[in-house]
Symmetry: C2
Subunit: 254 residues, 2 copies
């Protein structure tokens, strides 16, 4: 397939590289900033481009992987083409394309991508939606090349999945950051927390997180929780500690 | 060393098993409930015991690994002995022993233990405190057999470390539970979140969590955050979403 990427961020970088490795031709990478387009384009032998009105109209697939809040604007400015237009966003409905093009869909990768870290794309669950059965089939064919975990999912369920991903990834990761901040204030390096973090995740994977839960909140150990609240200086951290502890104590798996 | 364990919970089970494997003799396991004492005792060839006044006074080391809120009570009821008394609690000062015994200390393992899951004890960071230099040396000798990561740490810093561990382990794990609950409501199994959870942790380990952060909160993507808030039904979840997102947005590493 001849493919154009609109966007050069984390998702675009990893997906474009994976498609290139599979033998697809990524012809152009568009970004508002030429340097950003170029940074990705050189990696995958594509043409960098910073003028959306000059994007080639001859590709088979256009992958829009820009921030959610500029997606509609980028789509509106795209020149007409006969290729399939897809985006990679969890929280944007597929209908964002409907006024502009006939064949469109979504390829949503449920993963966290950073440019500094390689990802094995074949393990990334991909969730598809398409404007017709034919388009779903074509996207499925491509997705099956990319990943061993391909699913069709409505836009409504995809939004919920994205919400869950924010909890499982961004929020969990932030708890690591806050823990790192707490030990740093005592001059203790983040490193001492690594075995704990690794084991917490290993347990959640081998068991389930609700079976694996330990600590003062699940035990209802008021004395420890009170002492912890007193150690926390910022009102925001105190509020967070109380709220998460209460949520742990009240949690019952379905 | 001849060792007695007071308590038969997660920490006691893993530490007693590790000590036994190293060739130490765990002579008795005390628990208020005989069945609990027995469950651990049979594994390690120890005597189960449910009467604290009958605990042997001839051991070299007494490891108190009971819930923080009953620790003082268990210590108060212990018969006199000449062995070293230690506890394994992050948030309890070493002075809890001072009225009862001369030689005492703390061995705090910074790890999350569940009975259903094996742990490689040699990777578990151990934080020590002792009533004298001599006791610290003796505990250090034992701890070095158990683990490759042994540190001396004051009780005050240990309490802060325990607080950080609650964030890094219990709170992060709870974010996985909440994510699991969110997808379960849509009939999607927890399994689809596993690659995301694994990668989030792998990134936090390879980079740091603050470098690795992604998602709408760190991007300040108000549109997505608003949509997510609308998807959440419970007021508690909405509050949690808003608070953690704000904390992510405002976070700056030291």
């Amino acid at each position: 397939m001849k493919i154009v990427f609109l966007g050069s961020g984390n998702v675009a970088t990893h997906m474009a590289s994976a498609l290139k490795m599979l033998g697809h031709e990524v012809v152009e990478v568009y970004s508002r900033k030429y340097e950003n387009a170029q940074a990705l384009a050189v990696k995958i032998g594509a043409q960098p481009i910073d003028r959306i009105d000059c994007v080639s109209s001859l590709a088979d697939l256009y992958v829009f992987s820009v921030k959610d809040d500029v997606l509609a604007e980028v789509i509106a400015k795209m020149p007409h083409s006969n290729g399939i237009w897809v985006h990679t966003a969890g929280s944007v409905p597929m209908s964002v394309f409907s006024a502009y093009v006939r064949n469109y869909g979504v390829i949503y990768p449920l993963q966290t991508f950073s440019k500094q870290k390689e990802v094995c794309f074949s393990d990334v669950p991909l969730f598809l939606e398409g404007s017709s059965v034919e388009i779903i089939c074509r996207l499925e064919e491509l997705a099956n090349e990319l990943s061993n975990s391909v699913h069709c999912l409505s836009g409504q369920k995809r939004a919920v999945l994205h919400l869950a991903a924010v909890f499982a990834s961004n929020f969990a990761n932030h708890m690591y950051s806050l823990a790192g901040q707490i030990v740093a204030e005592e001059g203790v390096p983040f490193d001492v927390l690594r075995p704990l973090i690794a084991e917490t995740t290993a347990k959640a994977m081998e068991l389930t997180p609700w079976e694996a839960q330990t600590g003062p909140a699940v035990r209802g150990d008021q004395k420890v929780m009170k002492a912890h609240m007193e150690l926390l200086k910022s009102p925001e951290m105190k509020e967070l500690y109380a709220l998460v502890s209460e949520s742990i104590y009240n949690f019952s798996p379905q």
